[in-house]
Symmetry: C2
């Protein structure tokens, strides 16, 4: 491939610049494009589409094994995308890839995910954007996920995506040979039960940790989390237009008056 024709690919994540999944992704994506990494200086899981308004942001260069790897931003995943486009990149990249996240971003967790939010921020800015997550919290092996991210990126660079739409991809943490296939899925419904757990400090005062159990409410292969648990790669098209248009007609019938 001609060096000049290589696509320019912006990488971001929410696990931070040291995230193992980001490094696996960068190594893989460098095979098909010119890669710029802009990631949070610290882990920012669960930050959703948060941005930093009351505090200024710092940009630093990050080296690994004495080689320049990318830039850190002292903020959230969405901050990274905004700062990358405004201050770091000379021009708009051809593709934004966010991840590979440690832990799935399926069902309701789509709303909490900084990995997905960074990709949505790319879509808002008119950039073709993808988010990748590996469905595990331990013993992560990013080998197949990084390979599939590269493969899907090539496809997306050819096919394009509709405006304001990203692909959020969730991958089971198993060897490639055990993957059953690729499914196009919907964001399933789920709910965290018992969200906050009480502890006491040494003075006897209570404090609370957010935690709980994810209750899966959609259990068909049509739905992202269930598909991943059944050992499929789940590819979900996610829009940054949240309007429930199906309900607009009924709402009109309410005849609201001021």
């Amino acid at each position: 491939m001609d060096q000049l024709k290589k696509p320019h690919i912006l990488l971001c994540n929410d696990d931070g610049i040291e995230g193992e999944g980001l490094h696996a992704l960068a190594a893989s994506m460098k095979k098909i494009g010119m890669v710029t990494v802009v990631a949070p200086a610290e882990p920012h899981s669960g930050m959703s589409h948060a941005m930093t308004l009351g505090t200024p942001l710092r940009i630093k260069k990050y080296h690994k094994n004495n080689r320049f790897f990318g830039y850190t931003v002292s903020g959230t995943p969405v901050d990274c995308v905004k700062v990358a486009l405004s201050q770091i990149l000379p021009s708009k990249p051809d593709l934004l890839v966010s991840g590979i996240n440690y832990g799935s971003n399926t069902a309701t967790n789509t709303l909490y995910s900084g990995t997905v939010a960074a990709a949505l921020e790319g879509a808002i800015q008119g950039i073709t954007s993808l988010a990748f997550s590996l469905a595990t919290y331990e013993n992560a092996d990013f080998t197949y996920a990084a390979k599939f991210a590269r493969k899907l990126s090539k496809k997306v660079l050819t096919e394009g995506l509709p405006p304001d739409t990203i692909l959020s991809v969730n991958i089971p943490n198993i060897p490639e040979s055990e993957i059953r296939g690729i499914l196009i899925t919907e964001q399933g419904r789920s709910r965290w039960e018992e969200d906050a757990i009480e502890r006491h400090d040494v003075y006897g005062n209570p404090y609370y940790w957010l935690n709980g159990t994810l209750m899966l409410l959609d259990t068909s292969l049509r739905h992202d989390e269930y598909a991943v648990r059944e050992r499929y790669v789940a590819v979900t098209p996610i829009s940054c237009d949240f309007t429930n248009r199906d309900f607009m007609g009924s709402l009109e019938q309410w005849n609201l008056k001021k």
Copy 2:
């Protein structure tokens, strides 16, 4: 209305417990229900659906003019909803109302809004939820907005909402007599241009403030921000299912292989 039959209403916001719009909302909603306020201890604008995972949360009682007003949580708007349901309320409320936010939450800002996210968190938990925002950053007059919030809440308590759907309501900052009417709207498209602005510290090192100009891309009365600018109240049904179903068929045609 019989005291025993009054609905139980949870109030939250993202401007924090001292937010003027929250106090106006509480005063108004007390006329139709039993109100519990659970709000961030500090302002949390632009926090979207962020939740606090690495730090424990504290709950405190908040008094105003020597009277108990509500609870503060040392976290984000979504934290407040989770902690309220898990630790503060004896049972699930009949309604969650988030706001009244200082500044509109329309178009792309829907994604950044902690006010909208708190209501979406309510919807995930199966609670009928509304978000209200006043479209101004100065000289706010919450009188009409608080009145309309009460009126729409009564309607919603009767009519209900579809699962996983909230109403996000944006109100112009003008007297009631100048409001042209109520419109059912879609989330319009918009984009912030020049997102980060460079400054230098006293040592000459650069830092960056997120800022910019909101470019409005949809300019019809069908769209939230434009409708508000034209002096209508904009009522937008927002879903916490972000799937772009229209694109799923085309994606199937890609015949993705592992």
